[in-house]
Amino acid sequence: MNASSPIASAPIWPESPAVQVAQPSGLARSQHPSPGATVAEHSPVTPRPIRARTPKRGQPDREPGLKRANFGREAGLPTLLLLPQLLILVCFFFIPSLRALMQSVLLSDPFGSNVQFVWFDNFKALFASGEYRQSIVTTIWFTVTQNVITLAVAVVLAFASDRVVRGRSVYRTLILLPYAIAPAIAGILWAFLFNPVVGPLAHMLHALGISWDPNRNPNDALWLVIMAASWKHICYDYIFLAVGLLAVPASLMEAAAVDGAGPIRRFFLIALPMLGPTVFFLAVMNFIYGFFETFAIIDAVTHGGPAGATNILVYKVYVDGFINLDLGSSAAQSVLLMTFALICTLLQFRYFDHKVNYGV
């Protein structure tokens, strides 16, 4: 980011967040696809942004993330400015998280009248219960499948839309649409399409001789929610891949073309490896989406059934906490999920490391 960016208005495709190589050529390629562009036009060496490393006036001990020109050592005003954010975080983030931690080592009856400290019994009970292990397996199967489908379709679509010039914006707009649709609604749409009685696609399956009934057959139900979840999330992966592809230097692609590499080969040997960090980021985001945000799809479509076939972990936290009122177990599950979310966050920061410059 350079100093002029704050004033510049938003470009049609915002500057790539994912791959920061040679944005100028990438953006130029998006707007004026010039088949005759010569290799020499694009310097293979990305010019490093010139960062202000001028000697600082007055403050030799600069803190990270602090503006060089700041308002000095004032304590009252910043505290006041931070107060709303911190109050909300304490009330609705830190205290609930701590309470989950505390409750996960307590055993209490549904009315909270009898509370006992039980160490890790809640966790032991969880891992001993077949239902929970089944839920873990279901969640992994669900998220991994959803992840693979989403990424694969998004990669193919991004590749295609990178090549196509005519009608690109129409395709793009249509592919983006599911982002607007709530997960619950996406679930309802697919539940209708594959409803064994009235659904048009279920009817086609039946016509092909496939006995399809997500209300009875656990496998069918799982596939139904996987399809709905992927359908809703392809657009997200697609956007990031499409933006990332724009930033792949045209010079590299042209050089490879001169060496005789075809479009598909170039895509897999040059563009996709350069998008590696983006793909990694998307895979993590897909896991987060699959673990947490698909709750709505499950609740609107299958209610975790039939026979627990779509009872993913986050749905089980809800059922155990709010319906079965098993607070200790629900809290222990929350803690396990938090650990998972934290791991995902840390993974993401490995990716952010290259992006976020705290020293600026």
């Binding site: 704050p6 938003a10 967040p17 696809p33 993330g65 503006k67 020109a69 308002f71 000095g72 004032e74 304590a75 005003l77 505290t79 931070l82 709303p84 954010q85 911190l86 909300i88 304490v90 009330c91 983030f93 205290i95 609930p96 998280s97 309470r99 989950a100 379709v153 193919v156 679509l157 295609a160 090549r163 707009t173 249509l174 592919i175 983006l176 649409l177 982002y179 607007a180 649709i181 709530a182 619950a184 609604i185 309802i188 749409l189 399409l193 009685v197 009235v198 009817h203 990031f240 933006v243 045209a250 479009p263 598909i264 709750f295 609740d299 609107a300 936290v317 929350s334 934290l342 976020v356």
Partner: protein, 306 residues
């Protein structure tokens, strides 16, 4: 494009058309089903062309899901989350980038920690926090032994019970969803790119920090604010789990939750035509946002995921 490859280009068009169809087919069938009578929608196979009941079904869905009330709730919640999060984040980002105070790094890390723990993983304790927002005060009172202290002073036995129930209120729906720091980081990153000269000039001219914030920083941030507002509006409108826990009072349900009650269950009349009209209605506002404000939406999506 480096070379001409007509065959590949045709294949690419075919792929994109398939992708567009994948998106559109569920929507088209929703539209078809939403335009049929209840008798027609149960016929197998479903007709490929829409019927003439579209408007009637929309009206039925509107009445049945009480959309005139639930849409209002959704708008209040979505706008509340958007405005609240942006206001709170702008202030705290300003504080941690433009002031050198002792607890700056502590504040930074406190906010930072909340970055990526979705509300779904801590629903039960968060629900308790909302069901009694005075709980922290109660703990404080218990911890400091206020009751014992009072007894020691006055000799009376008292029990302190504080209660502030936010279930079925707008703040209860909105505040817990504001409690994450993504927007703060977006603004922080942006503030770090604002030229230092602006602040120096403002200070030379004798502007106070708040004056600088209001007259210089805020106008510069407008494009970021709009882009982020779109994303947050979609996020707020499409919320499900949190409003679901608050549907004890039907008048406080959001549109998405009200829609859920339209889905036919196995023991009810299969009114899929009404359900699909309701689905189309509920997805209309966010879809319009994406269609009309696409460039801002893309900027917001990519910025806020950084």
């Amino acid at each position: 494009m480096v070379e001409r490859a007509p065959v590949l280009d045709t294949i690419c068009h075919a792929i994109l058309i398939a992708g567009a169809l994948l998106v559109c087919v569920p929507l088209y069938f929703a539209f078809v089903a939403g335009s049929l009578t209840i008798a027609e929608v149960q016929k197998v196979p479903l007709p490929w062309l829409p019927g003439g009941q579209f408007v009637a079904n929309l009206q039925a869905a509107w009445a049945k899901a009480d959309f005139s009330r639930t849409f209002l709730n959704s708008i209040v919640v979505a706008v509340g989350i958007t405005a609240g999060k942006i206001a709170v984040s702008l202030l705290s980002a300003f504080a941690i980038t433009y002031f050198r105070f002792r607890y700056r790094m502590l504040a930074f890390w406190l906010i930072f920690m909340s970055l990526m723990l979705p509300i779904e993983v801590r629903i039960v304790p968060t629900f308790e926090a909302v069901a009694n927002a005075a709980l922290p005060l109660q703990w404080l009172a218990d911890m400091l032994h206020v009751a014992d202290f009072w007894k020691w002073i006055s000799g009376h036995d008292v029990t302190i019970t504080l209660e502030w129930n936010m279930v079925n209120t707008y703040p209860g729906l909105i505040l817990p969803l504001i409690a994450s720091a993504t927007a703060t980081f977006l603004f922080r990153q942006f503030f770090l790119t604002v030229p230092d000269e602006l602040c120096e000039a403002a200070r030379l001219d004798g502007a106070s920090p708040l004056r600088f914030f209001w007259s210089i920083l805020l106008p510069l941030s407008v494009s970021n604010i709009i882009a982020l507002a779109i994303i947050l509006f979609l996020f707020g409108w499409n919320q499900y789990l949190w409003p679901l826990l608050f549907t004890t009072d039907k008048d406080m349900a959001t549109a998405v939750i009200a829609l859920k009650n339209l889905i036919p269950r196995s023991d009810s009349e299969p009114a899929w035509n009404i359900a699909m009209s309701g689905a189309l209605l509920t997805m209309l506002p966010p879809t319009m946002v994406i269609l009309l404000l696409q460039r801002w939406f893309l900027k917001g999506l990519i910025d806020s995921s950084k």
